[in-house]
Symmetry: C2
């Protein structure tokens, strides 16, 4: 074994002439960019928009750790812990539970694995997230049936039942926390109803998980996904997703391959140890992002779901009381999201002026509307460790000053 | 404006009964997982596999920074700097240049934007990356024509020309740094050749960028992508991609929408400020990952491409000289990758024993083969800040010991 060096390698120096020739016959025409010579400098911001939120200290520390390999046993351990953390956060025992990249990716993964071309797909569209689900469903070639309602409304059991009877969908999409309009969609009874019509229920809880109760198994939700960058206070770039046995069966018996290799749940399930085969390399996981996600799930488990829900409810109720400075709340209080609050954009102002004032003078982010609510509302998020009375006082103070100093237009 | 509180919000407490009722009628059945009570503990590893590599100190520091919003002007500035960094690293002036998630995502983005169903797609398959391109192309519904060669070989101009003439593809895929077999595919002349046949050239430089010369514009490459987790020493989860005007035109004149919303280049181009429209929210960017990517590109710009190429060439040539302890190098030296070295798995040993020994006794990662090279080779990567003589000495020492102590089987 310990013999002579393979003759070839000794001559690497001059036989590697291939790329040396390449260098000789070309020149660097694009110079190093001057902007990259400046040091990276990140301003301090209090993020009270609809997300992303600030990182909690333990999540921040995780982001500063060194790499390990995506196939090392310690990484598999972290992945297993993340799966358990998701199962707790979702209140599910589903084996097919894993993390994926952004919230949109989770939605696209759900749709491209559950829908085949020509499948009937029912979508609750009461804000931007339903619009996105509709767009993605159409690209996949499904027959999409949007139930369109104004931003600020939700879908009743009766409305859903009528649409199920009419369109006989294989899948229904609902958004639990409609962060563009501030609505909390009730979920009790919807799973059962769908199953009576042989339809699966897909729920987006990106903006509500940890802030409002969800019980995936008890509520009969077939696919649930959420994001890392809201209540969990982890960096964007990872999201959580889980599939019931019914959903799993639909995926494993589909006739066509999903059009995306990256989002193919069979591959991902194997990589995340959700089947009984040895794990095969699929793509390089965002290792550092997963450290952070693991820590954020550990914090939620330590706090306890019910305490987290209570914290958001209390902080947001306090915000609503303090908003008596006059900003009208958009929603029926029974349906208000305990994480992201929408207030009617104050008449006579340009909403951009207010948002910019609060940012420029207080380093606080609040935002305007999004999609159908654009121009109509301001949005204030109290997410995870940001959901405190102190932060409410800070943003109310900032808003009060903004309303005093921003230009008022004649109505 | 500063009038009375919207009557509704005063009663939030008891009118929010919707989700309070939900809580009352369900119970937490899944307890907080015990495994998440343990602190996160990341072992120190020297990552000398084919990637991911270790983070350089400045990249590590960037990962520990706090969040800002994905639509803040400072974030747009960072995105612009990343674009300029990619233009430098790729030696291109393409406006349509941006970052995306993993290397596989970049490949899928390229294929799903450039190919329409029924398009003819020519793929160089000399290892796993061509296999992946073939798989993704087939899912999209393209007519895929694989040029299949053994791992360890490359594609000559003549072979490519014959296939271009025969299959009249709209797109050719080649891998510059075939990290599963250790081959460096030459690129001079291929772009010109493709263009003569009205074909676009797509090149994977995930494992070679920064380690071997590439001149996107001068070499007539239409789409080039690379990863963050190799020579750049940044965390996995971001990748780099750029499109020539020819490629851009093909995308902007396609008849069908790409099947993926997440990878739709028109959306991404807008979000990354590559068109002249105001930026629209597409998805929440991996903010922290982009800090790290920005720093890694800044480091490459400071070092200079040619110095980086030289560093990899020298470190790898030194590795090849030190390998005279007897591990046969797989490749024709003129075609050896200056980043990832494949050596024939030593006869008489189980390659897993060697890999495990080096990990368990030295905390160094080297790996076995992947895809078609599985079981046949060991792979040693010298990537970015890991490409030093000291690291070569460490891994050679580890290998020497492993060969002494690992069980030898009768041949
Ligand atoms: C309810 C909801 N769904 C989906 C998303 C999309 O998540 P991402 O931006 O991570 O893709 C968001 C993000 O704001 C959201 O609030
Ligand atoms: C040459 C090459 N292409 C593509 C990839 C895939 O990149 P990722 O794992 O980030 O998806 C790799 C990763 O090892 C690679 O070496």
């Amino acid at each position: 074994m310990l013999g002579a060096l393979s003759a070839a390698s000794a001559t690497l120096g001059h036989k590697a002439a291939g790329w040396v020739r390449t260098m000789a016959s070309h020149q660097l025409l694009v110079p190093p960019p001057a902007a990259l010579r400046k040091p990276l400098s990140i301003p301090r911001r209090l993020l009270l928009g609809p997300g992303p939120s600030n990182l909690s200290p333990r999540v921040l520390a995780a982001g500063g750790q060194q790499m390990i390999g995506h196939m090392h046993k310690e990484m598999f351990q972290i992945m297993d812990e993340i799966k358990q953390g998701i199962q707790y956060a979702f209140q599910t025992r589903n084996a097919l539970t894993l993390a994926i990249s952004s919230g949109h990716c989770a939605l696209e993964a759900a749709l491209s694995n559950l829908l085949e071309p020509q499948d009937s797909f029912l979508v609750g569209v009461n804000g931007i997230w339903g619009q996105r689900a509709q767009d993605i469903g159409e690209r996949i070639g499904a027959h999409v049936h949007p139930m369109i309602k104004d931003p600020g409304s939700h879908f009743t059991l009766q409305e859903v039942e009528e649409a199920l009877a009419q369109h006989k969908p294989v899948l229904l999409f609902l958004t639990q926390g409609e962060s563009s309009s501030g609505v909390l969609q009730p979920l009790d009874g919807y799973g059962e109803l769908c199953h009576r019509y042989r339809c699966l229920l897909l729920v987006d809880s990106v903006a509500s998980l940890g802030g409002a109760p969800v019980y995936m198994d008890q509520q009969g939700i077939d696919v649930l996904y959420s994001g890392s960058q809201k209540v969990l206070n982890a960096p964007p770039g990872t999201s959580l997703i889980s599939f019931s046995d019914k959903a799993r069966n639909k995926i494993y018996t589909r006739k066509t391959k999903p059009v995306s290799f990256n989002l193919d749940i069979k591959w991902l399930a194997n990589f995340w140890g959700c089947d009984d085969k040895p794990r095969k390399y699929h793509h390089t996981l965002p290792v550092i992002g997963l450290y952070s996600l693991r820590e954020s799930l550990a914090l939620l488990a330590e706090q306890g779901l019910e305490n987290s829900w209570r914290q958001h409810q209390e902080a947001t109720a306090y915000l609503h009381r303090r908003l008596r400075l006059g900003l009208q709340l958009l929603k029926d209080p029974a349906l208000r999201l305990p994480t992201v609050t929408t207030v009617v954009a104050p008449a006579g102002y340009d909403w951009r002026d207010i948002v910019n004032y609060v940012m420029d003078h207080f380093n606080i982010e609040i935002t305007g509307g999004l999609g159908p609510s654009l121009g109509k509302v301001l949005r204030i998020g109290l997410l995870g460790c940001n959901a405190t009375r102190e932060n409410v006082d800070r943003v109310i103070e900032a808003l009060r000053e903004a309303l005093q100093h921003c230009p008022r237009h004649k109505l």
